[in-house]
Point group: C2
Chain length 419, copies 2
């Protein structure tokens, strides 16, 4: 019996989440006996609650291909976590009401930790209410912090971007250091998990190659030890390149970006801005001239330098999510499994969503060097396959040609929702 | 009669200055009856003064090819401006002494405004002292602010990078703005001239497309007018993407990064850091959630997304510099001339270095929109050809494979130099 499907994107977007959307769209087309119309909800779960549904069945094959090379969330994302069932049962009932109104039997939610939690809650309330649905969480996060899956789609591309960028900036500093800047600091994302900072480390293939120092949120920031490392690099290599995770913390567990070093007018945690603090510490204690960069959104939207493996995996988790759903799977996530390291081989396995939701995967200690300021060989071996291969978008007038969807909204069938 | 040559790199490096080095190296090989050994001075004019000379004649063809795809200054650059002849005649005499010791008849100095000045001074002192040399300035600057030449090698690639990056970040913000960030600010280089900020504008092909606002150093920052523009964008498009040049100034001519908005501990002009100030102004007056990025060195070293036209022109000014020198030209710069706009065609013309040194080319007013917050069509037509085409480096282990030179230093022939 044919049922309709809803797909939605949630949380911070990535360079390849639209490739997952393309995978879901193609998957739905390939199972016409099980899946009828595929709706995309605008702005994640909010689009379901408010019935802002886009009919993507009528999109062309060119659009699907275009999504594979377009960064960001083409259907709009959201930062919105459903409350617990006890706190707001009405929201859950509304979801089921919408599913029912559109004869939806498949729900694909594409996001990170919070979205896995949302997807699991949706699955449970549907089960409790006896509504038949297959709820599948499609993994996505640049933070690479989802449990069970070997890695998360979105991470490989941000990793390739930050490693490329810090290598390039390292060459720049190497040219300039004799008479000018001695220290360069690149701030990357990662509030609790240091995976993105770790990716910078891949750019350093020899000990003297940048980056010389990596600051992880998993390692308490030790200012004295750090200053010694900076001085060692400048004394021995002439300059020092540093990758810093936005979420590094002091011994009291306080983020440096919120510590006494922060300028009073500026304490917005959303901001990033730990790079200038690190720069200031170095300037005060060692007097070196410095430059810093904050990559912010550039890193997670840099589709122009996406990892080919990442694009393939993002597409595959979308497609496999559909295949799992039509095979009867429910409350699962298609996870990436590393079958072999050399050559790198991977496949996709369904994992119980309860094993994923609300867990956060940090860097294992053995992925960080003994002194806490760089990555280990094990970490390098883990990351390199994930950034391998290029998958360039088309260019027009000198710039990447990304697509925007027309968004054919369907007429609403229910009264407006209010909490 | 065969004479030797010295090549050196100066000032802030670019993604393509090594392509100019490759052009000079190939040029010297193609004129073996005029040019013997090509030496590269380490760290610009300092390498000449201190006789740190690298024999690049023995480099392989693969190295020349590798330089074409490697960012930064492979021979080391310097920030060092020769004093006037009256202030430090000894330095000039030393240069001639070194030229003489190595039988140097050709001097190729690759840099921006300051380097043009240095090259001209070297030419004049040589003439005054009767030392026969052909001094050629090879243009390079991401700032695009050299006079006479239609554009400067290095600009096209930084332009392609910033326009690509702000387009990508714009897609990101478009996905997120409904429930999260409303404003994104990208700070780009450009202390006095707004060419790089202008390049961001090319990413916006329709009025509603990011960036919605560009802040140029040529336009006095009017906070009220700016806030109105931000509010208009958020009201009408849902979000606002802003490109800001690091050098924007208030009505008193003071840089915003050094104004009352700056946090006291942080007044380092070298830093950049105007993006957080703009963010703070928006937060205070409109309350929008924001993100900001500072591209800093990433923008000028982003060889992975270099402009093909830029690479070709960088190589060509190097090669043509040699051709001009062996044809007898002296105290000139190979300048790029725009022959036609559509299709874009260019060639290279020698221009008198006196017409270039110490001039700074700002954005013409008609390249900026009437309200001062975006680029005009004329500006777009000027920039697009310069960012056209891709010229990707090779990748290995997921990252661009850039080269490092072995640097075969020649034995010194003179006593050490001291000022």
């Amino acid at each position: 019996m044919t049922k309709n499907a809803i797909y939605a994107q949630s949380g911070g977007v990535t360079a390849v989440i639209n490739a997952s959307a393309a995978g879901v769209m193609q998957g739905c087309r390939d199972f016409p006996h099980q899946i009828g119309t595929l709706y995309a909800a605008e702005n994640g779960i909010l689009g379901v609650l408010h019935e802002n549904l886009i009919d993507v069945s009528i999109e062309s094959d060119e659009t699907i291909a275009g999504l594979k090379t377009t960064p960001s969330g083409a259907f709009g994302s959201c930062r919105y976590k459903l409350k617990s069932l006890d706190e707001n049962r009405k929201e859950y009932e509304r979801l089921i009401e919408v599913f029912s109104a559109y004869d939806v039997g498949y729900f694909f939610y594409n996001g990170g930790n919070d979205s896995a939690d949302t997807c699991l809650k949706v699955a449970r309330i549907a089960d409790e209410m006896g509504y038949p649905i297959k709820a599948i969480h499609i993994p996505k996060t640049i933070d690479n912090d989802l449990a069970v899956t070997d890695n998360c789609p979105g991470f490989g591309s941000v990793a390739k971007y930050v490693a490329t960028s810090i290598r390039e900036a390292g060459y720049d500093l190497e040219s300039m250091h004799k008479t000018s800047t001695k220290v360069f600091i690149l701030e990357v994302m990662g509030r609790n998990a240091g995976w993105i900072a770790a990716a910078c480390g891949v750019a350093s293939e020899e000990q003297n190659e940048p980056p010389h120092i990596i600051l992880f949120p998993e390692i308490i920031f030790d200012e004295d030890a750090f200053i010694r490392k900076v001085k060692y690099a400048v004394d021995n290599y002439g300059y020092c390149v540093i990758a810093v995770s936005e979420g590094i913390k002091d011994r009291y567990g306080m983020e440096l970006s919120a510590s006494q070093h922060t300028l009073d007018d500026f304490g917005h945690h959303q901001l990033g801005g730990v790079a200038p603090i690190i720069a200031q510490i170095i300037k005060k204690r060692l007097g070196y001239k410095y430059h810093w960069a904050v990559a912010d959104y550039l890193q997670r939207s840099a589709r122009h330098i996406a990892s080919k493996v990442d694009v393939e995996q993002a597409y595959a988790v979308g497609y496999e999510g559909v295949r799992l759903a039509v095979s009867g799977a429910h409350a699962v996530m298609p996870a990436i499994r590393r079958i072999s390291q050399n050559p790198y081989q991977w496949d996709i396995q369904a994992v119980d969503l309860a094993k994923v939701a609300n867990y956060e995967k940090f860097m294992p200690r053995n992925f960080i060097s003994e002194d806490g300021f760089h990555i280990s060989d094990a970490c390098r071996e883990y990351i390199v396959p994930l950034i391998t291969g290029e998958d360039y978008p088309k260019f027009e007038n000198g710039l990447p040609k990304y697509i925007r969807l027309k968004k054919h909204f369907v007429a609403k069938r229910l009264p407006p929702f209010s909490k």
